[in-house]
Symmetry: C2
Subunit: 182 residues, 2 copies
DNA sequence: CAGGTTTCGATACTGCCAGTATCGATACCG
DNA sequence: CGGTATCGATACTGGCAGTATCGAAACCTG
């Protein structure tokens, strides 16, 4: 068996989780805009250099953080129910909370003008949706995809908070909307 | 009749429309983030000072610009149809286009951490919705309100682009979603 | 232990941009 | 003409993302 040889040099300290926690905490306290990388680094007890050595930008850091917190949507099949389940599970689950909601909106906005970040979000978040919805795609706009993702999740989560179970007809209508929106 | 007396001093040059046009054009070309106030001022052939004398911040300028371009939702009654019509009309109508879509997202993000801008958007955009939906409100989150506004508009607009008219049941379902989301 | 390699923290720096301050010039009014 | 408020131009502050540098660790191999 060819185990991956440990690369030479000093190994990275295992502070990813610490940084993620500090990121969420800082965003929650100060909001996306005021959660500067300096502050996040300070909150994590880490040098800013270390953060930029691991994540290429603030947006990438937060995207990785959200992904770590909520996980990528695990779409295996292509059924409508799975789409909705997935939408409920990740991001959306927290979009309405002050700090993290702002983070989502912020990363979304950043991504509009940041090809690199767009690529990260695209591959990590969107791809599963893209695959699941492939049959309906013609010329998907990344912006619209982001928006639909976050938004459907918001609506669904909020519906869940009302206590009323989602009616089958509502699920169908929403899925239709998502498909139409592409 | 007490006509409003013209205030003393040099009157303001009538460049509001020019600035608005330059703002939309610049945002369309460069995106929200890279559409700096300096560039907008240059595109309008106006000093940056003049812009800040009329609008208190970049966000306020763009909000005023969008409001001017699309108009505020003219909700007089409280019917579901009017809510949806309104959502289609303003902002939403352009949310999927590159430049202006970015502007909406940008202003939305800015507003999360900017009380002043939030107040502007709230009074100009949200109030009509708030009134129309008042019967269903408990503790509305401004963030959620923004999101719902923009998003429902997006979905509806996109549906409109498919050529298929919106089914009555879809409209009803969407309105229910909006109401639930509050 | 010695030499090679990579990360770490600290610090300083660049570049960009929002927003402010200042000032001479200009336009309107009485 | 004298009062007032806007105009353009310019310079500036402050904050933040991202980069550069460097001595000090940490790990491996010989």
């Amino acid at each position: 068996m060819a185990f991956t040889a440990r690369p030479p040099g000093r190994p990275r300290s295992s502070v990813d989780a610490t940084v993620f926690a500090a990121t969420l905490r800082t965003i929650d306290e100060l909001g996306y805009t005021h959660a500067t990388v300096d502050r996040i680094a300070a909150a994590a007890g880490v040098a800013k250099t270390t953060i930029y050595r691991r994540w290429p930008s603030k947006g990438a850091l937060i995207a990785a953080c959200l992904l770590d917190a909520f996980g990528a949507p695990p779409l295996a099949g292509d059924t409508r129910a799975e789409i909705m389940t997935s939408a409920i599970r990740w991001g959306a689950a927290k979009i309405s909370e002050p700090g993290v909601g702002g983070a989502f909106a912020g990363v979304f906005t950043d991504a509009i003008n940041d090809p690199a970040l767009r690529e990260i979000l695209s591959s990590q978040f969107q791809e599963p949706y893209r695959l699941a919805l492939q049959e309906a795609l013609h010329e998907p706009s990344q912006r619209v995809l982001f928006f639909i993702d976050v938004v459907t999740g918001t609506l669904l989560h909020r519906m869940g908070m009302t206590g009323e179970p989602m009616a089958e007809s509502d699920v169908d209508a929403l899925v239709e909307l998502v498909l139409c929106a592409l």
